[in-house]
């Protein structure tokens, strides 16, 4: 498949496909498909954020804006820095430099719980259900501003009873929506993997977030449940939330995202509506390796063949050596 490089300055208004169905799609229609492009109404703005682990640069993002009220898919090969970027944005990790803001408020130097209180909640790649709490207790934990969570007022039930009741009602409503209401008194540890994903998402919604960041919400979930999870993610957008999610399944990404950001080796290498991504040369290179489809010349073919043959010869020599060793070993 000889992919044409995406022409710089292309926009979705010129492309075919299911564009223009959602408000975010409409807003992003005239945004050029360029890395670091400005969005009409950004909720999150990332500027020059870098994170290195020793000699490895895990994340190095020059400029990235996330459109408010849309679903932004974050994709990239393994080790591209997607989860590290998530960790940086939510305060779970501190960058070496750079700044990022939510609604114009800088988020640098904030602890995870402070970021969450601003309305940016996340889920985790490895689901974190609180096993030895019931499903309902898991949900109630998500509610914000609980008076009974401070040490002294916890001792006076009168202070928090009313709030607890309201939170329980809200939790039950969400559980019904996610079809977990029948399990409310079960330990969360007894739920299946997919149900845990649902619970984690529902729990995040208890905090009335403005931005929901989902780290591989569909991983390890059976296909039937994937459809319902997708529906729930779309519902978040209907309710005006901004959704950022990491996903490997391209069908899922194409189905629900309004905008896709592609990362590789810590950098954002492409941005654009989902239909633009599969044609992007940089993305294809990142996933499959550069020059994967360039035809070989005769000289190159000979060279590759010679290399392969010498490799095989070496391999055989080593194998015979090793089998000698092993026979000695058994004799002893």
């Amino acid at each position: 498949m000889p992919a044409d490089p995406t022409p710089t300055g292309a926009t979705a208004s010129g492309a075919t496909g299911p564009a223009g169905r959602t408000p975010a799609r409409v807003a992003l229609r005239d945004v050029p498909w360029e890395v670091g492009v400005a969005k009409p109404d950004p909720a999150i703005v990332v500027d020059g954020v870098t994170r290195t682990f020793g000699g490895l640069t895990a994340v190095s993002v020059d400029h990235l804006e996330i459109q408010r009220g849309g679903i932004t898919g974050l994709i990239g090969p393994n080790g591209a820095g997607k989860t590290t970027l998530f960790n940086l944005l939510t305060g779970f990790d501190q960058p070496d430099g750079g700044s990022w803001s939510f609604d114009g408020r800088p988020l640098g130097k904030l602890a995870p719980h402070q970021v969450a209180r601003l309305g940016v909640v996340r889920t985790f790649q490895l689901t974190k259900a609180l096993s030895r709490l019931t499903v309902l207790q898991n949900m109630l934990l998500g509610a914000q501003g609980q008076k009974g969570e401070s040490f002294l007022s916890a001792l006076v039930p009168g202070i928090w009873r009313g709030q607890e009741k309201a939170n329980t009602e809200k939790a039950m409503e969400l559980l019904r929506r996610f079809k977990l209401d029948a399990k409310k008194d079960e330990f969360a540890g007894t739920l299946s993997g997919g149900q845990r994903k649902l619970l984690e998402m529902a729990r995040a919604l208890m905090s009335d977030p403005k931005v929901v960041m989902l780290d591989e919400p569909m991983a390890g979930v059976n296909p039937a449940l994937t459809q319902s999870l997708l529906g729930h993610v779309k519902d978040l957008r209907e309710e005006g939330m901004t959704v950022i999610f990491v996903e490997h399944d391209m069908d899922v990404v194409r189905d629900i995202s309004d905008w896709v950001v592609v990362m590789a080796a810590g950098k954002v290498i492409a941005e654009g509506p989902p239909e633009s991504i599969s044609q992007n040369q940089a993305v294809v290179d990142a996933y499959l390796g550069a020059h994967h489809d360039a035809p070989l010349t005769v000289e190159e073919e000979d060279r590759v063949l010679a290399e392969a043959e010498s490799e095989i010869a070496r391999e055989e020599q080593r194998d015979t050596g090793r089998s000698d060793d092993s026979s000695e070993g058994t004799l002893r």
């Binding site: 779970f92 209180r117 259900a129 609180l130 030895r132 040490f151 916890a154």
Partner: protein
């Protein structure tokens, strides 16, 4: 047969004496820290030590009022908890375990060291500080009283009565806390800290509160033990007591309000009954002299207790009050 009933009565007395109160308060604190918040405090005895010496040093060395000594002991326990928690609670759970176990041993050695002798009176310890407390008894503490076939000194009875009142109040406090939203956050931290952070709770503060509260229970235990024995020597506060308290907690059932209390009573009863019961069996000739002599009893009783604990973990890992489903959740 009469000897055997006497042995039983002695064991019952041990199960409700001030030594059992000591163990119950240590276990109550560990239950808060380990059972609910998941903090591994392996140096609970250090809190008992500072509590006991708070009274002993204040009253005997500095000539202060008994209640001033209690206040100083409690303040020292809070300070110790803060000192231990500040550097370690941001780290993984193991670091608190290492810090507490080292502190417990270090403090004991410090208190019995030559350089500390002017304050702590070295390994000989301090005595004669409990008269201000014993005087408060509503009955004649000089007399002896017969209760359930065993003789109690009036002073012992008074210390035990005050001790069990403290245990009851402590249980009430723990019960009120763990059923509140505060308790829900603390239990969630035990399950997964990061999930709790992502939901906007300041995990560090909750862990610190649990550590301080558990430390205060430990200090109260140390105080009861000190006024019960009428003296404070560093070697009474060996760290083996911490692990005995863990054994009591697991026997009763961790993360249950009454678990540590019933566990402590039962454990003390078993320790004493293994001793007095075996002795009476040897003396009456049921166990032949050639098999076991009374001098062996002190060692053999701990072998029996260890065997009992192993059987408990195999057949009833949740302890007396625990929920088996809950304990087995992570054991898949």
């Amino acid at each position: 047969m009469g000897e055997f009933i006497d042995a039983l009565a002695i064991a019952v007395k041990a199960g409700i004496g001030f030594q059992a109160v000591f163990l119950a308060l240590l276990a109550l604190g560990i239950n808060m820290q380990f059972g609910y918040a998941g903090l591994l405090n392996f140096g609970q005895i250090a809190f008992a030590l500072v509590g006991a010496y708070g009274i002993a040093v204040s009253v005997s060395q500095w000539g202060l009022n008994f209640w001033a000594g209690v206040a100083i002991g409690l303040a020292a326990a809070v300070a110790l908890a803060l000192l231990l928690g500040l550097p370690t609670l941001r780290l993984r759970a193991d670091y608190l375990a290492i810090a507490t176990i080292a502190t417990a041993e270090g403090l004991r050695l410090l208190f019995r060291s030559v350089s500390a002798t002017p304050v702590t009176n070295g390994s000989r310890g301090i005595s004669g500080f409990n008269s201000g407390f014993v005087e408060l008894a509503p009955w004649d503490t000089g007399r002896r009283y017969d209760i359930l076939g065993v003789r109690w000194s009036g002073a012992d009875l008074w210390v035990a009565a005050v001790g069990w009142t403290l245990v009851a109040l402590g249980c009430l406090l723990v019960w009120a806390l763990v059923r509140s939203p505060w308790g829900r956050v603390v239990k969630s931290i035990r399950e997964d800290e990061d999930a709790v952070r992502a939901l906007g709770k300041n995990v560090y503060v909750y862990k610190m509160q649990a550590l301080v509260l558990g430390g205060v229970f430990g200090a109260l235990g140390g105080m009861i033990y000190a006024v019960g024995t009428g003296s404070a020597t560093p070697d009474q506060y060996q760290n083996a007591n911490t692990f005995l308290a863990y054994a009591a907690l697991i026997l009763g059932g961790a993360a249950r309000v009454l678990g540590p209390v019933v566990g402590a009573m039962l454990l003390y009863f078993i320790i004493q009954f293994a001793d007095s019961g075996l002795r009476s069996l040897i003396e009456t000739g049921v166990i032949p002299e050639g098999l076991l002599t009374t001098t062996d009893v002190a060692q053999i009783r701990f072998v029996l207790i260890g065997l009992g604990l192993i059987l408990l973990l195999v057949f009833r890992p949740q302890g007396i009050f625990g929920d088996r489903r809950e304990v087995m959740l992570d054991a898949r």
